[in-house]
Amino acid sequence: MEHLAEIDLIGLASGQLPAARDEVCRAHLAECGQCRARYAVVESLWTLTGRWEVPAMASSIANRVLAQVAENSQDRHGRRSPWPALRVAALLAIAIGGGHLAGRQFWPAPMPSVASQVTEERAAESLAVDELGGSAAIGWVEAIAGDEDVETEETNG
């Protein structure tokens, strides 16, 4: 004889088995002492867990829910959200940035000034210092001397 599955015993205790299955299971229980004992345990657990009741509600939450809905609605309609302003700012930034890039494409770059030429020379010297390395004292001295020259030129120019 095949014994009842555990899920059938749970179904019996909860009263959720379809009528036909319920009948078959109860017929089996009538004949099978082992399944009767198993079912007694399941039923006992069912009763025990049923003792846990939820404390009664002090009051309905309907007013809380409606108040929250009203507040959310005010948020949507009454208060100004920062998002539209941020969106406009972002669009402006893109437009200005895009315009600037486009301008660089169409108009030739201005002739470099004397000051920028000097800056380029300084950059070249800086690279030379890097090549010498931090321990090359002569390189540092020359670089510093060069800097002084550049400053003088800039001041005079």
Binding site: E6, I10, S14, Q16, V42, L48, R51, W52
Partner: protein, 209 residues
């Protein structure tokens, strides 16, 4: 209850001015009433929302209470459930029974809350509320109830979820599967393991009974 398709047809066929009383006189009235209320809520009808809260707050709060173990937290979850319901109502399609859909919201909110609490630093005291009227019940009864609560709380998350839906919300395996989006066979397997786990944890109380 009406099947989903029938409920949908019923709602679509229902005249706009059909009263709730008319509806509740029909077979499968609960599902149809919920569907009609949802349609009204979707149109921004706040009294309909209040009606929906009154109809379901007890079960929503009960489920949340057993899940998170605290009255104030359960109230918060119940409130959030109905807010989500209000927000989702314009897009709601009665493709599943309303209560199944609603329980899905509750379960998700409860799981979120539980996980957040689990990640938060542990408090020294147990957060669970002891019912205020416990003095009226015998001490043994209170101990038994506390043991049941602790035993259920100690179950793995999925087992606890299906057990609460089955034992206290009287959902069928199929309905639990719809709520959790797990297969029906997985639900049955989880239920069997959950009840077995409880049996071990509550053996002492079952012997006393």
């Amino acid at each position: 209850m009406l099947s989903c398709g029938v409920a949908k047809n019923f709602v679509e066929a229902a005249p706009d001015r059909m009263s709730l009383q008319d509806v509740t006189n029909t077979t499968g009235a609960d599902a149809a009433t919920d569907a009609i209320l949802m349609r009204r809520i979707g149109a921004g009808d706040r009294p309909a929302l209040a009606e929906m809260v009154h109809r379901h707050e007890h079960r929503v709060r009960g489920m949340a209470y057993r899940f998170v173990g605290s009255g104030p937290d359960a109230d918060d979850i119940a409130q959030e459930t109905f807010i989500r319901l209000w927000q989702a109502a314009p897009r709601y399609e009665p493709s599943a029974t309303f209560t199944t859909w609603m329980y899905r919201i509750v379960v998700n909110l409860c799981l979120d809350r539980k996980r957040r609490v689990a990640r938060a630093p542990q408090r020294l005291e147990d957060e669970h509320d002891v019912p205020q009227d416990s003095s009226a019940a015998p001490i043994e009864q209170a101990e038994t109830v506390e043991a049941v609560r602790r035993a259920i709380d100690a179950l793995p998350e999925r087992q606890r979820t299906v057990l609460l839906l089955h034992r206290y919300e009287s959902l069928s395996y199929r309905e639990i599967a719809q709520v959790t989006q797990w297969s029906e066979s997985a639900v049955e397997s989880l239920l069997v393991r959950a009840y077995q786990g409880l049996r071990q944890r509550l053996a002492r109380f079952m012997e006393e009974k």
